[in-house]
Symmetry: C2
Subunit: 190 residues, 2 copies
DNA sequence: CTGAAGTGGAACACCTCCGTTCCACTAGAG
DNA sequence: CTCTAGTGGAACGGAGGTGTTCCACTTCAG
């Protein structure tokens, strides 16, 4: 879609997209006028870039998938132990910010690339968990799809904690990492 | 509200309330016609019991708070170690079923009794966590509000896992308990 | 200055949902 | 049977969101 757009057009387009991610993350049923206001743009202008609501949603899905893919790539899931890779992924995803809310509250918004409720959607994720099962850093009793749900729910909880209470991003990220780490670690033999 | 209602009236009223919890949990912006259809009731009948949408939402809040209180009482938070009490609470809350979705996706729906994003809303909960901190069964580094967020997000993740995939309630509950337990346990001294 | 690009406001028709009214139907009590 | 409670359908006006059109304004390149 963003073919041959530069300068003002590209900037406005990006502002609308970012505003849409923020607003729709708070309320997936938000009116277009709210999104336009958040982007500090007239509703007319919004319609110029995205004629119909569905056009905007498609673009949001594309933008979200792109940010998600970049974060996934940064985590280098194939390096280190399985648990280390999972925690790296948590740290990268946490930086997605308000996109976390959108992905979590509207799992269908990313179209086919829905990362949450999928029986093992992402091959890289599943491979990472399998590696953790083998190298003993992830409890064998916890299947990959559940760990995906676990991770996303904790990321969302952490992000809500930051954005609704005035908590520090870094402190909360450490809480998330701490609890995910504890959750996946194999039990001590009792 | 449910003053002097018996027989058919009480039954219809309850059917509408349960349907509302189910439907609103899936989509907080659902139309009244959807709720009426889910309750197998005409929209006219729904309006007879709850003249305005806000009336229905108030009744849902009351019903939800009531179920929540019953579950909390059943967990006997003041008995046993802090961690044991927390896990008992998870088991009781898990039985709330679709109410979990409603509470999680629309935290304001329960009015003042919002259990999730509150800096230590519930005294019994905070007391339980404090006890766990003292008796060494809950990691001292994890504050009560975060553990509340943690628990609710895991319960919601578990319930979604059950209702969207065909997973077994009991198996998923054990996964939730397993991961919450691991998350709150104090770290081994390394 | 002139023209083009980008923008925002106002107004409109359309649709959906909401709340209301009215009427017809059914089941059960007497 | 008759009367009543409970119900559901049809229809309407109002409110809000959507998509569209038209026009006035600003900015910037030439």
């Amino acid at each position: 879609m963003p073919e041959n757009e530069r300068g003002a057009r590209a900037r406005t387009r990006q502002a609308i997209l970012s505003a849409a991610i923020d607003v729709l993350g708070q309320n997936p049923a938000a009116a277009l006028s709210e999104i336009a206001a958040a982007a500090e743009v007239g509703r007319t202008t919004l319609h110029r870039y995205f004629p119909e609501r569905s056009d905007l949603l498609r673009a949001v899905a594309a933008e979200g998938s792109s940010r998600l893919d970049r974060a996934t790539a940064s985590a280098k899931l194939s390096e280190g132990s399985g648990a280390d890779a999972l925690l790296r992924l948590c740290r990268e995803y946490f930086d997605l910010g308000s996109l976390l809310s959108l992905i979590f509250t509207d799992p269908d918004c990313l179209g086919g690339a829905t990362p949450i409720l999928d029986d093992g959607c992402d091959d890289r994720f599943t491979a990472m968990i399998d590696r953790g099962h083998r190298d003993g850093t992830i409890d064998i009793a916890l299947p990959a799809p559940w760990l995906s749900s676990l991770m996303w729910s904790q990321l969302y909880a952490g992000w809500s904690y930051v954005s609704q209470q005035g908590a520090s991003r870094h402190e909360v990220l450490e809480l998330v990492v701490r609890t995910v780490d504890g959750a996946v670690a194999p039990r001590a033999v009792s």
